[in-house]
Symmetry: C2
Subunit: 216 residues, 2 copies
């Protein structure tokens, strides 16, 4: 609540990387290419809206050609790691675009964590959120990025805080991840899924995603 009044937070740069070429390919069994493109963009807009509500206007980092986004765009056609490092002026936060469970409260809590580096781990060893407050740190999103970011910070003698949040850890890559969006999402993403026929069914104690075969 108090976060938006803190003078130290005023200058925080918030970057949301976004690639829009063949997005969310592991959802291809459930969504057409065009639907995956639409859904990826809807998730991005949910993330941008949550960040904006915290009081830090986000900037999207994307390859050239992205239009109709409700935030300024920095174009860079390089892979994620060099593109982010090129603009990593502390204090900078990096937040992934496929986190439709994020709420303003979740983001504020992460920004309020102490440490030279705040890491929000993604399920499966990824990095979904970073707050970088020291220029000795640089990102490495290739491979096992959580381990890499822990190591880079440690080597540079930087203090690290890790965020314990299901909403931060739950990036949407696979069909099972859509269940989390329906269970916990509050933005446009769960609405879009429901409009496109998605629902949940409980079988043998675990909830699975289902899709009606037609828009009927």
């Amino acid at each position: 609540m108090g976060a938006r009044e803190k003078p130290a937070s005023v200058d925080l740069q918030v970057i949301v990387p976004y690639t829009f070429r063949d997005p969310k390919s592991r959802l291809a069994s459930l969504l057409s290419t065009e639907e995956r493109r639409d859904f990826a963009r809807i998730m991005l807009e949910d993330v941008l809206a949550a960040i904006a509500e915290v009081g830090h206007p986000p900037t999207v980092l994307a390859p050239p050609g992205l239009t109709d986004i409700s935030a300024p765009i920095i174009e860079d056609e390089r892979p994620l790691t060099p593109a982010v490092n090129a603009i990593l002026e502390p204090p900078t936060a990096v937040i992934m675009a496929d986190l439709p469970l994020l709420t303003p409260g979740t983001i504020r809590d992460a920004f309020d964590q102490p440490g030279d580096v705040v890491i929000g781990p993604g399920r499966g060893g990824g990095t979904n959120l970073l707050v970088v407050r020291d220029d000795a740190f640089e990102v490495d999103f290739h491979g096992h990025s959580l381990a890499d970011h822990r190591r880079i910070a440690s080597t540079a003698g930087l203090t690290v805080t890790e965020v314990d949040s299901h909403r931060v850890s739950a990036d949407v890559d696979e069909p099972a991840d859509l269940v989390e969006v329906l269970l916990h999402g509050s933005g446009t993403s769960p609405e879009w899924l429901r409009e496109h026929g998605f629902g949940m069914t409980a079988t043998a104690g675990r909830v699975s995603i289902t899709r009606e075969s037609d828009d009927a």
Copy 2:
């Protein structure tokens, strides 16, 4: 930090349900029956140790026959739902036994949440942690328990707080869940996995679990 001094917390009953017949069957591709039984018990002990450190001695709820556990046992051979409801005297917390990422801090944070009912959702629509402070609530662990618990509380006019924690949501059922144990666990569970040949490998941006074929 202050939680263990709070007089209101002194009477909190903490129940850890545990079934030991064919535990963790979805790990059968990686672990033998005996190994699954050992690992389930190691996770249980990690959970019991984390709870004990918060200052609330836990009680294990199990079918008859369980021995050599570092906590008192209430025996009940019925399914989870009636067995828990039979001893659900508020205030009672219910914490699942397959949560090796739990830390004392995570548990304390959950216990400190307000509300007649505190729910810690599991990934995939389950319920991994409950704090029940009103006797109008009863549990239903069959099927889609998160939705059921939301509904039961709502029908009874009770206030609900949901815990946003990756450590609470990450129950261990499937091979991919073991990655989380290696990445974030701090008790005996990750140690046991490493001793039994488990490690991680990063392929195509996601970390997978691996096991050496022999103890060589």
